[in-house]
Symmetry: C2
Subunit: 294 residues, 2 copies
């Protein structure tokens, strides 16, 4: 028997490491950084991850900034990452609109306009997309989006997408309303239900998985949101690891619906355990399917 199997508690805690881990999905905010500060140990852990060659994607619900701005911000914090490794709701939405040949009415932050194709002039929109518009959530803008939704509903083809359902987030000046409440407002007024793009929608996780070219049971998601990250990832067959940083709350450890595959103190600890296990279980070939022999 191995050391792992001898210690029952340890074995239980380490069960999530028994299946091979060939790729990772990482949340950004609350895992790598909080606001404009890197979380302790995350920069070094991120470097170790890159050195290990385990492929990963960053999977964020950030909808206020385009990926390029996010990449630049991460780079300033010493997280060097390629643009095509960042999965965010806005580019996922843009790809979907392109694919379905839709003309959106965009109620989004002016800064992420660049993620979307410029709609042709004079063509009526056939769907509404709401993002974290922030100051652009004016009464007039809400009214315009609402009137378009109602017109689409009367035509019988209402398409309403939201880039997220977050309630609020912390800023230096206090709590700020996220796009969830404004999505709820338009849903209440129109009687429509918006389709969620971004976490925890299965489609969003799958697009990141597709890009890794890995089956879900070989990939682990690491996040600070018990429902959006952990529950969402588990819903499509990934393992979900919760970190005790970011928006983590002690009550999350006994969440009534979502049981994380593991709970770790922080990103650094998760990476350590993953790399340790990978080295232990497969000496020659790093990311092997083989179960260690007894």
């Amino acid at each position: 028997t191995t050391n792992l199997q001898r210690d029952n508690k340890y074995t239980y805690k380490m069960a999530w490491l028994e299946k091979p881990i060939k790729g990772l999905l990482l949340d950004i905010s609350g895992v790598l950084k909080n606001g404009d500060l890197a979380i302790e140990g995350s920069v070094e852990a991120f470097r170790r991850l890159k050195a290990s060659k385990i492929p990963f994607r960053l999977c964020t619900n950030e909808t206020q900034e385009p990926r390029e701005a996010l990449r630049a911000k991460l780079s300033r914090l010493q997280f060097d990452v390629d643009l095509d490794k960042i999965f965010a709701p806005a580019p996922a939405m843009a790809a979907r609109l392109r694919q379905e040949k839709r003309i959106p009415h965009l109620l989004i932050h002016p800064k992420i306009n660049c993620e979307f194709d410029q709609p042709p002039n004079g063509v009526e929109p056939d769907c509404v997309v709401i993002g974290d518009a922030c100051e652009a959530f004016t009464y007039e803008a809400m009214n315009t989006a609402f009137n378009i939704l109602l017109k689409l509903k009367q035509k019988g083809e209402p398409k309403f997408y939201t880039l997220g359902r977050g309630k609020y987030y912390m800023e230096p000046n206090g709590l700020m309303l996220d796009l969830g409440p404004f999505t709820a407002a338009l849903e209440y007024a129109s009687g429509l239900t918006a389709e969620l793009i971004g976490k925890p929608s299965p489609r969003f996780f799958k697009s990141a998985l597709d890009s890794l070219e890995l089956p879900p049971d070989q990939v682990v998601m690491i996040g600070d949101d018990i429902v959006g990250d952990v529950g969402g990832a588990q819903g499509v067959g990934l393992r979900g690891v919760l970190v005790r940083t970011g928006k983590f709350q002690p009550s999350d450890e006994n969440h009534e619906k979502v049981k994380p595959d593991a709970i770790v103190d922080n990103f650094s600890q998760a990476i350590d355990q993953i790399l340790q296990k990978c080295c232990y279980s497969c000496k020659s070939q790093r990311f092997d399917d083989r179960v260690p022999k007894k």
Copy 2:
């Protein structure tokens, strides 16, 4: 037997007139007027009502304008009514705040500020009141209200009032979002449920009833909103009459939850039937309890 009893269908339709009617509650928008136009026949019917001396109150969910402005607007349309006959959510809210000695944070239309007592300077609000703030529904104003709500929630005494739950209303330029969606947004973000002031809250109907000094079963509510007017009134023991004007929809005639005591073409027809019956049933004493003898 009377003529009424001979014609079954007529008897059924007239059943709501069998009990005495000693007072009326009238909705304004959709019953007396649509926007800036009096509804056909309503001005004359309103005059007949006043001449009959049947006491009445106007019961509106208007929260964009103070009562005085509403009175002036009605007067221009030839509906002459005293200020103390108008029951609206804002003054009802103000009276309640006065009574409970609360300091509100007001997220309302600047025009109805005058309905509220000026809060003392430098005192922290102990509740949030949301009205139809219209252009004043900015991201900043929503954020401020939300932060206060969350602070009150953390203190364990969250009081959150809404002057209505309307979804939208019609203006010459198109549909305008009412305060319901913005209430829903703050509820979603804060996890709190706002208490409704105004129709169809029982408390609001009761305050108008109290002012009439009549028991509910002697009063009839006339409105164009099957749920807010008719259902709300029936909920506190009034009879509810639906008019086929204003926001009335043909589907309201078979509403799954609310069965009006009567459905009439318009306000004028309702008044005609009421006055006819009153004259028929009680020749000497106008608004008597007596049931006509067989």
